[in-house]
Symmetry: C2
Subunit: 530 residues, 2 copies
C-alpha cells in the first residue's frame, strides 16, 4: 500500500500542508502510516471550483455515459482487491468478511444506479404538447425533465467505510444525477478514502470524463467540512453521522446567502414495540433476534434498536428474563475508533449512575480496552421515568438498548407519542395484537420513515422500495431517502422547456422518445412517441 | 356581503381581539368595511393544534375522498358568485374579467389535483417482494408509498388573490397530499380571504371531514406569520411573495429545534435574451410582445421580464426604438395596494436618479396617484454598468424593465453568468442563432427553472410539465414547483412498510392494486397486480 496522505483534487494529489494526523487502528491502538494532511482553505476552494467547472459538461452527459462511469467505479473498487480490504480492516477494525460483504454492497449500489440510468424513467419526463387553437389563449409546448443540481458535498460516514463513504451511496446517487462530487473523507479511515478516491478518479479517466467531477479532501476538524458546505460552488450536501454534526452542516447551509439543501441522515432510536400476544407466543425468538439486532456490528448501525417498549405483565417479565440471558451471552466487539468507544463507555456509565435506569444485563465477557471494545449492555425503566427524562431519547451509539415498561396500552401510546422522528419503528404483533393497535400503527407512521413488522430494523436493503430517512432528527428532510434508487432525487431539479424545437431538447423530451422511457404525455403515463 | 373580520378556526370565527385593521381599495384609496383583527398568539397556536389533531384522520382518507373535497371547494367558490368577484375587485383593483378568469384558474387547479388523485400514480408506490431463499440472507417484503407531511402553513399572495391565496395552488396541493392547512391571509385582501375560507370550511362539512383540516388566520404584521412558522405543530410552509419576506420565513423554519421545509417562490428578474437574427427578422413582434409581457397585470406577475439583454448593433438599435414606441403607448394601471405602488414609484425614481441608467421610455399617459396607478417605464444601460452594479439585480415589482446592451456574444455570456437563480429565462432566437448560442443555452439551464424560446415568460400554464421554481432566490428549493401537478410533492414523504400483511397495508400497496395505479414492482413499472 503506497498512500500519499493528501487531498486528491481532480485526480491530482495536492502538496502536504499544515500539521499531520494519523489514523489509529482500533484493533490495537497503533498509529497507522502514512501521515495525512487536512486540506487548506485554498485547496477546498479549488476542489469546489473544479467541480463547478466540470458541472455543465457532466450535466450534459447521457444516462448511458453515467451508467458506464458507475459500473467502472465498481470494477476499479474490486480491482483494489485485498489491498483495500486490508486497509479498511486496519483503520476500522471491522471483520474482513463484513468488509468483503460491504464492498459487494457498495458495488451493488453503483450498479443499481447504473441500471436506473439505463432504464431512464427516473427523470420524470412530462410533455404537454401545444394547443394552438385553445381559447381564450393557446397553450405553448411545455416539456419538463430532471437536471442536476450542481456540485454536491458528500461526507463519508465512519460506520460504513465503503458503502456510505467515498464511493458509497451518496456519491453514487449524486454522480448518477450528473452532479460532480467533493467528498470530505472521514478522518478515521483516511487511507480507505484515498484508495476509493483513486478508484473513482481512474474510472473518470477511463471514461474520458473531466477529472474535476470528483475530488477528495481530508480534514480532522469540523473546519474543513464547514468550509466546504459554505463554499458558493457547492449546491447540495449529503451526510450520514451524528445529530450534532449533521445539524451544524444544516445550519451552515441554511445560513448561506444562497441556502442549499442538506440531506443529513442522523440519529435514531429505532423504537421497538412488543405487543403482548406476540411476546407470549415468541418470547425466545424475539429476545434472540433483538439481541442480534442490538449487537450487530457492535451496535454501530443507524438502525440499531435503542429503545424497546412493552406493557407490564407476565409476558413482559418473561421476555425481560429471556432478553437478559441473551445479552449476557453477547460478546464485546471492537468499535470503529477510540472516540466512538470512549463516548459509548461514558454514555453507559453515566446512564448507570443516573438513578433513572436499572441495569438489566451486560455481556458476561468484559470489554478489552486495548482492543477498543464496546461491551453489550441493556437497561430497564418504567414509562413514567422515560417520559419525564428527555435525555433518554439521545441516541447511544453502540451495543446498548433500553427496555421501557408501560402500565397499559394507553401508556404505550403515550410513549409512542413522545418520540421524536425516527428512521424506523418496529412492531412485534400477531394479527390480533395489530387489530387492537390501530392507533399505535397510525402514530408510528407519523414518526418514522420505515415500519417493520415482526422483524428487526437493522439490515437496510438497497432496493427501490427502501426508505432510509424520516422526520427530524432522523434526517433533515423526510421527503428524501439516502438508500435505494429514490436517493437520486436528492440531487436533481426539474427544468421546463417551452417552445423548443426537437433538436434543442434533451433526449428525454424528444418526440421520438429515443430512450424508450416512461413519460407523462398530456397527462397520461406512456412509453409511446409523441 | 356580511363579513366577520376575525380568523376562522376549524369552521368557527374567533372573537375579535387587539387593534383593528382595514383593507383599502386601491381604486380610490377608500377604507373598506368591515374591520379585521389579527389572530392572537393563542389563536395561532389553536389553529395549528386543531390542524395537528385532524392530521392523522385526514392522512388516512382515500384519494377519492380528497378528490371529492377539492371538487367541492371549487363548487363552493363558484357558488359565491358575484359576491366574491365584487369583494376581490374592491380589495385588489384587479379588473372583473381578469378575476373571473382567475376564479376559473383556481377551480381548474382544484380539479386538476382531484384528477391527479383519482388517477393515483402520483404516490410513487414501490413494491419489492420477499425473497425468502436469497443467500446469504433473505430479503423481506418492502413496500413504499407517499404519506402526508402533516399540517402545512400557507401564505396568501397579494398578486393572485384567488389562484395563489386561501384556496389557491398551495392549499389545493397540500390538501391533495392529505395535509391540513392553516392559511395566513394576505392583509391586502382579508375579505376575499374570509369568503374563500368559508368555501373551504363548507366543503369540509359537506364531505364529513374534520373541520380542523382548515383554518384561516388574519394578521397585518410579520409577527403572525412568523409565529405560525415557528409553531411545532406546523410541518411545512408554502409561500409566494418577496425575497425579503420569503427569506425571513425560511430562516425562522431552519432555526426551529425541528427544522421544516419551506417552499418560498420569491423574486425573479426573468431575463430575456434577444439574439441578433431573431431581432432582425421580428423587431416589431418582439417589441410588442415584450411590452405586453412587462405591463401585463401592471407588471405584478412573478414571471414579468425585468431585464432584457442584447448585443449592440443595428438590430438592437432598431429594437430599442420599436420598444420605446411600444412603452409610450402602454397605459398606467391600478396596482394591488398602496404599499406596492409606493414601492414601485420609489424604485423607479431611485433608478432614474442613480446615474447608472438612461430612461428609455415611459407611458405617454401619466399615472393617477389617487387610483394607486403604476406608470410603465423602461430603462437602458450597458453591460459594464450592469455587471458593476449588483443592486440592478433586485426585482422591481411593477411595469418596469431594463434593456442591457452587450458588446458581443462573449459579453452576453458574461451577463448570463452574473445572474442569480431565476424562475424563467427567455431566448428569442432563430435556429441559426441557437446553434451559435449553445453555451448560453447550457448556462441558462443552470440558472432557471423554465426556459422559454420565442415567447414570453408571463402566462404560467397549470399542467403536469410546468415548473414554477428555480435556483435561489427564485425559490428556496429548486427541486420543487409551486405550479402544476408536481406541486403535490412538496407536502409528501415516503413511508416504507416491511413485512406487513395485506390487510394492514395502504390500498396503494396491496397486491391486488385496487386503485389500478402504476407501481414499481421488483424494479419494473407496471399496473399489474402482484
Amino acid at each position: 500500500m503506497n498512500l500519499q496522505g493528501t487531498s486528491l483534487l481532480a485526480g491530482q494529489f495536492v502538496p502536504a500542508h499544515g500539521a499531520p494526523f494519523h489514523a489509529q487502528s482500533p484493533l490495537d491502538g497503533s498509529e497507522l502510516a502514512p501521515a495525512f494532511f487536512a486540506a487548506s482553505d485554498e485547496q477546498i476552494q479549488q476542489a469546489a471550483r473544479l467541480a463547478s467547472e466540470a458541472a455543465p459538461a457532466f450535466a450534459r452527459t447521457s444516462f448511458a455515459e453515467r451508467a458506464a462511469l458507475l459500473e467502472k467505479i465498481a470494477e476499479e473498487l474490486l480491482a483494489l482487491d485485498d489491498v483495500l480490504i486490508a486497509c479498511v480492516h486496519a483503520e476500522t477494525g471491522l471483520p474482513k468478511d463484513r468488509l468483503t460483504g460491504e464492498r459487494g454492497r457498495t458495488m451493488g449500489q453503483l450498479r443499481l444506479f447504473a441500471s436506473l440510468l439505463r432504464e431512464g424513467s427516473w427523470c420524470d419526463a412530462r410533455i404537454d404538447t401545444a394547443l394552438p387553437d385553445r381559447q381564450p389563449i393557446p397553450r405553448p409546448d411545455l416539456r419538463r425533465t430532471l437536471t442536476s443540481l450542481g456540485p454536491v458535498a458528500v461526507f463519508g460516514a465512519s460506520n460504513f467505510p465503503l458503502a456510505f463513504s467515498v464511493a458509497g451511496g451518496d456519491t453514487a446517487s449524486a454522480l448518477a444525477a450528473g452532479c460532480p462530487v467533493v467528498v470530505k473523507a472521514h478522518p478515521a479511515h483516511p487511507g480507505t478514502s484515498e484508495l476509493a478516491a483513486l478508484a473513482v478518479a481512474r474510472a473518470l479517466t477511463h471514461c474520458g470524463l473531466p477529472a474535476g467531477i470528483f475530488s477528495l479532501i481530508h480534514g480532522n476538524t469540523p473546519a474543513q467540512g464547514l468550509a466546504l458546505v459554505r463554499n458558493p460552488f457547492i449546491k447540495a450536501v449529503g451526510f450520514t453521522g451524528s445529530e450534532k454534526a449533521g445539524r451544524a452542516l444544516f445550519d451552515a447551509a441554511a445560513n448561506r446567502p444562497e441556502p442549499i439543501p442538506v440531506f443529513a441522515e442522523m440519529g435514531s432510536l429505532n423504537p421497538v414495540f412488543l405487543l403482548p400476544q406476540a411476546l407470549s407466543s415468541r418470547t425466545e425468538p424475539i429476545a434472540e433476534g433483538l439481541r442480534n439486532s442490538v449487537t450487530l456490528g457492535v451496535g454501530q448501525f443507524c438502525t440499531k434498536p435503542g429503545v424497546v417498549f412493552g406493557v407490564s405483565g407476565t409476558e413482559w417479565d418473561a421476555f425481560k428474563r429471556a432478553f437478559s440471558a441473551q445479552m449476557q451471552k453477547a460478546v464485546p466487539g471492537t468499535m470503529l475508533h477510540g472516540g466512538i468507544c470512549d463516548s459509548y463507555r461514558k454514555s453507559v456509565e453515566s446512564l448507570a449512575r443516573s438513578g433513572k435506569l436499572d441495569l438489566l444485563a451486560e455481556s458476561a465477557v468484559a470489554a478489552e480496552p486495548g482492543k477498543t471494545q464496546g461491551q453489550p449492555a441493556a437497561f430497564a425503566t418504567r414509562a413514567a421515568t422515560y417520559l419525564a427524562t428527555p435525555e433518554l431519547q439521545a441516541e447511544v451509539f453502540g451495543p446498548y438498548t433500553l427496555l421501557v415498561e408501560a402500565r397499559d396500552a394507553a401508556e404505550l401510546l403515550t410513549l409512542a407519542r413522545s418520540l421524536h422522528g425516527q428512521l424506523t419503528a418496529t412492531l412485534h404483533a400477531t394479527p390480533a395484537d395489530l387489530a387492537e393497535a390501530a392507533p399505535l400503527l397510525s402514530l408510528l407512521q407519523e414518526k418514522a420513515g420505515r415500519l417493520v413488522l415482526n422483524g428487526f430494523p437493522t439490515g437496510v436493503e438497497v432496493c427501490p422500495a427502501m426508505q432510509q430517512g424520516g422526520p427530524y432528527p432522523a434526517s433533515t428532510d423526510s421527503r428524501f431517502t439516502s438508500v435505494g434508487t429514490a436517493a437520486i432525487q436528492r440531487w436533481a431539479r426539474p427544468v421546463c422547456f417551452q417552445g423548443f424545437p426537437q433538436e434543442f431538447l434533451p433526449d428525454t423530451l424528444q418526440n421520438t422518445n429515443p430512450l424508450g422511457i416512461l413519460r407523462t404525455v398530456n397527462g397520461t403515463l406512456t412509453r409511446d412517441a409523441v
